[in-house]
Amino acid sequence: MASLKELKDRIESVKSTQKITKAKKMVAAAKLRRAQQAAEAARPYAEQMEKVMSSLASKVSIDENSSKLLAGTGKLETHLLVVATSDRGLCGAFNANIVKEAKVKAEKLLKEGHKVLFYTIGRKGVPILKRAYPDKMLEHFDTTNVKTPGFEEAKAIAAELTALIDDGKYDVAHLFYGKFKSALVQEPTVQQIIPIPVQEGAVSEAEGAVDYEPDEEEILAELLPRNLTTQIFGALLENMASEQGASMTAMDNATRNAGDLIDNLTIVYNRSRQAAITTELIEIIAGAEAL
């Protein structure tokens, strides 16, 4: 049995941990609201972009001159897995879940005989992936020095990805991130971003004569990088919201567990204290009787 002093120290230590988790939970709750609003505000743009892209893509014929972002490199050999995780911990299994999803995909591709490379965004996913695939880490995009990854970061990432495919470093790119469902549920999601997956039956609703200024090809060439940026931006925003949601849930659990632990320890502490007093009393009474 632990001594009274040990128990007391233990209770104090759990209490200070609880303070931290409680504070983190409240911070996450406040940030979650903002991140959620940001994710929602970005939706009209992404939706519009998608509509335009699909109606354009169905009109343009793909040949060897088309952009690699649309047509790919004509091979399916090297797959780039773009894994977006958070920069901070204390958010439960959020990062682990995304990385797990990426690993499953990587294993599947490797088994099929493809090559796999990783491009990481955010600090937390790196060590896990590095341990599993030390020779497959291609690039890392650092977001630690910005408070919230915004459109500028998305643009920079898109530019890097475009440069890498032009160098022939990879053929297909998949983007991994945590899709925000609710504060309780975040779904690790994979999405193919390069080349743009062709949706069956996404033929434009016979809009008739639309004037294109300049022509379709040029508009498409301008739109493709922008579409990539938008997708990455959307993923970053979803990730932000998911991270805060996961963090809030995890910290809420931790706070509650700490509370339970404190209650139990306090009971043990009081019991041992009473036992010690009783023993002392018996000793005194026995001593007095012996006289």
Binding site: Y45, A46, V52, E207, A209, D211, E213
Partner: protein, 85 residues
């Protein structure tokens, strides 16, 4: 005459969604004014001013847009811009 439904969207947010009289869009190949029932057009835009006339004869309102494109369809005019100021 019915008004033109006009939306200006950036990646961060929906900047404006209004029924207006006319919008002059700075297209890559030249400015063009869009009134209600304009024929469907899709155009990339220059970094320049978007001029909005809320009603006929009203004082023009300008919004500077950067990078993006404009689409006119039966629902109205949608401008997707990377940044506005």
């Amino acid at each position: 005459m019915a008004n033109l439904h006009f939306e200006l969207v950036t990646p961060e947010k929906l900047v404006r969604s209004d029924d207006v009289f006319m919008v002059v869009v700075p297209g890559t190949e030249g400015d063009f004014g869009v009134l209600a029932d304009h024929a469907p057009v899709m155009s990339t835009i220059r970094d320049a001013d978007l001029v909005i006339y809320v009603s006929e004869g009203a004082a023009p309102e300008t919004i500077t847009v950067q990078g993006g494109f404009a689409e006119v369809n039966e629902a109205g005019l949608t401008v997707l811009a990377e940044a506005v100021s």
